[in-house]
Symmetry: C2
Subunit: 425 residues, 2 copies
């Protein structure tokens, strides 16, 4: 949806000193700086709306330090989540935050990403311990102090939290210290079809309320399920569906599974299909992660736009039911898929980019959905960020004093307004 | 340790409008403002070092809104954690952050408090969803937008996180939206004595590495254990001891207990004593929460000073062993007690306030301990904050650029430097 706007130049620094020199040079010359991770962001974050230099960080891809006993690791900005998990394979540890795309971890910090595992392991906000940041003028900040990696602290203001979700507008993240988790002893995944959207979402809410420590709980509407069946050769019933995963010891898994089945049964679910083998699970989640491409295949040649809202979980049933109706009424082609355990979901809308009237309708639909979420005490973005597309909704979400405070923060760290200009605010 | 410095006046506002008017009035007259929760803070946060008006928030003690289905609640600043948990008694929900003292929840936000349950449920940083803040000039900020209470968001900068741990230096917190948790189905507590400090701490590290979801894991050295035995009529062996608690279903508890016993056994623990009844557990935790008073009773008439550091858990054994030796060498009376599951512990030092030489030695000991933690990639405060006592250590911890960024934040929100002046920075 965000028209590609190339920068005037792209540079590939090899180390933090070069990033710092580049930032200092650009800043002294009044040239905009656009940090680039892997470009999978969905809100136009890397568009060079005012031209400038794109700092592509993919060549800085070392894993700097693993502290297995402390469950932490330090990565450069070019390391992706898959690369990290491959590296960790024999350590008994993993990094759970999982936005589907194989994004860079520092890009994930920058957007405050989350994904399928957030319901159990938290989002990036919960899993970043320290950041190395090149500030707009080139100075180096270690948000929790150089080399530190403790689990908690009450020392001064939370600078780390300030940069998580800042979308490249406050500085360039050149290293992140992340929190790792022990690999679960056992894992089981499942799919479960429901008679209605309401039944699937009620099941989600009840599972959370029963404190079943579900690791993943993903909703797909029947259109999405149908598309995934075709794109990824599954043969799930074409119905509102939950994809679930449970982590634990063999014994605790049995208990989680039993409770989840009971709850789903109460809500009228018929088919609970378990994937216990690693290969079967891999196929299932590969299908889930290909949902975007499955949706694109519904209208070949069209582009996709993924909306992203998040509401208190008790409000999920009503907003999902409303959204299905809105979708029908709009005449647009779209699927619904989401991390419903967090109250977060997306509509993937297919749009012919040449059809300006359709583009307008897609934008209007996205804005209407954002406002529906706001009206239910929710947020206009659970994980994709504001970027170029949601600046008006952000204002409605946080209000005048909130906006002014954010603008003050921006002006404080980037007085010339050269860090990824035109985004967020 | 922090000499009492009374303000020029104390006011008890009844509602947020009054707080706002007071802030505006003080600010326009250049009068310092000191927010006051329940005064249990340990780093001199409520001392009026430059005089001014103390805004005592205890009269604003309503629970504004419980959203049981969304696991959230909105409280005014006078609500304490015990009052909240009493209110929640029949809801199946509870608020786990537990600093021992019956502190105000907004004071706990202000100090970034944690306590015994943080190893499982996180600290205040992880459990605050939204804050209502009266900014220094009197304007009202809702950090996540008015009335919002979602589980996650990527909308703009993280203003909520900025105020958690700000120790009253950036604004007055007049309401907090907190995350609640389901009451565990079953709970078991235990004490376990060890042949050495090293063995107790190794057990902690191994329990975490084995991913046993322990809810509480507290260390008491033999001096502390002895004092607690006497003060709270326990009869635990006088030895380095862990107090543990496990939450879960009956079945998962059995498994957690078995693993913990195995690990403790491997580390030479002899006595594992289980408290399954609620009354027994209550006595145990009451004793743990009275550790401060038990320590005070070691030298009647003396004052206590509680140090507070946090290190990566792998470094806990060495810093605890060193600290025991430092304590012996110093000739001071002190106990060690801590939330070792987070790598966080305290030395409670007893000091005769009239003995300036002893006061000097206690200060020096605290500073040395802080530097030991810093040298091990740790923090000079895991939970008590910087207040008046740790400003030098904060500088060493975050470095020049970190300090400058914090000073910029302070200047941005409080340009006249009237919010709780002299603290943190
Ligand atoms: C198929 C698909 C599925 C997705 N599913 C999810 C999902 O489930 N959950 C989710 O959260 N997201 C999802 N996303 C979105 C995307 O993967 C995330 O936003 C991701 O965090 C972006 O990382 P990136 O490295 O690609 O960043 P980029 O796209 O390169 O950049 C995104 C923004 O961050 C800034 N940035 C990047 N790196 C840095 C850095 N080192 N320092 C400072 N600023 C930086 C950029 O300037 C830009 O503003 C999905 C995307 C796709 C294509
Ligand atoms: C016996 C004992 C045991 C303790 N154990 C722990 C522990 O295990 N973990 C732990 O974290 N702490 C512990 N503490 C310390 C203390 O309980 C916490 O720091 C607590 O969070 C302070 O809350 P309060 O309401 O008493 O704040 P106060 O002492 O009143 O204030 C503390 C600071 O916060 C500011 N403040 C207070 N309320 C507000 C507000 N509404 N808005 C803005 N600023 C405000 C004050 O200006 C001051 O700077 C312990 C204290 C005692 C006495």
């Amino acid at each position: 949806m965000h028209r590609c706007q190339p920068p005037d130049a792209v540079v590939w620094p090899q180390n933090v000193e070069q990033v710092s020199q580049l930032a200092a040079l650009c800043y002294s010359q009044g040239v905009p700086i656009i940090p680039f991770g892997t470009g999978t962001g969905l809100e136009g974050g890397v568009c060079a709306v005012q031209g400038g230099v794109c700092i592509n960080l993919t060549h800085m891809d070392r894993i700097l330090k693993l502290n297995p006993e402390d469950f932490s690791v330090v990565v450069e900005p070019g390391v992706t989540r898959k690369a990290l998990n491959t590296y960790l394979r024999d350590s008994g540890l993993w990094f759970p935050v999982d936005p589907g795309a194989d994004a860079s971890l520092c890009g994930m910090v920058a957007t405050g990403a989350s994904g399928t595992n957030a319901v159990r392991y938290g989002t990036m906000r919960d899993n970043v311990l320290n950041l190395e940041v090149v500030l707009p003028g080139g100075r180096l900040l270690h948000t929790a102090g150089l080399g530190r990696h403790f689990r908690k602290s009450a020392a001064g203001y939370n600078l780390t939290g300030l940069f998580v979700g800042s979308e490249g507008t406050l500085g360039l993240i050149t290293a992140a210290t992340l929190r790792l988790h022990p690999v679960p002893e056992a894992t089981v995944a499942a799919t479960c079809a429901f008679p209605s959207v309401q039944a699937a979402v009620d099941t989600t809410v009840h599972i959370l309320q029963a404190a079943v420590p579900v690791a993943r709980i993903e909703f797909l509407d029947e259109v999405m399920m149908d598309a995934c069946n075709r794109h990824s050769q599954l043969n799930c019933p074409v119905a509102p569906t939950l994809f679930l995963e449970f982590h634990g010891s063999e014994q605790t898994l049995a208990e989680q599974i039993q409770r989840a089945e009971e709850i789903a049964g109460h809500n009228g679910a018929s088919l609970f299909s378990w994937a216990k083998e690693a290969e079967e699970r891999r196929r299932l989640w590969a299908a889930r992660h290909s949902a975007w491409y499955a949706a694109l295949a519904l209208r070949p040649g069209c582009k996709g736009y993924s909306t992203d809202v998040c509401v208190p979980i008790s409000r999920l049933p009503e907003i999902l039911v409303q959204t299905k109706e809105d979708l029908k009424a709009s005449g647009l082609t779209g699927t619904i898929v989401g991390h419903v355990g967090d109250g977060n979901f997306h509509c993937i809308l297919l749009v012919d980019p040449e059809d300006t009237e359709e583009v307008r309708r897609v934008m209007a639909f996205g804005e209407q959905l954002g406002r529906r979420a706001l009206a239910l005490h929710g947020t206009c973005t659970g994980e994709h960020g504001i970027g170029l597309g949601k600046q008006q909704l952000l204002q409605e979400e946080v209000g005048a004093v909130g906006m002014e405070t954010m603008r003050q923060l921006k002006a404080m760290l980037d007085p010339q307004g050269l860090m990824n200009p035109g985004k967020v605010l």
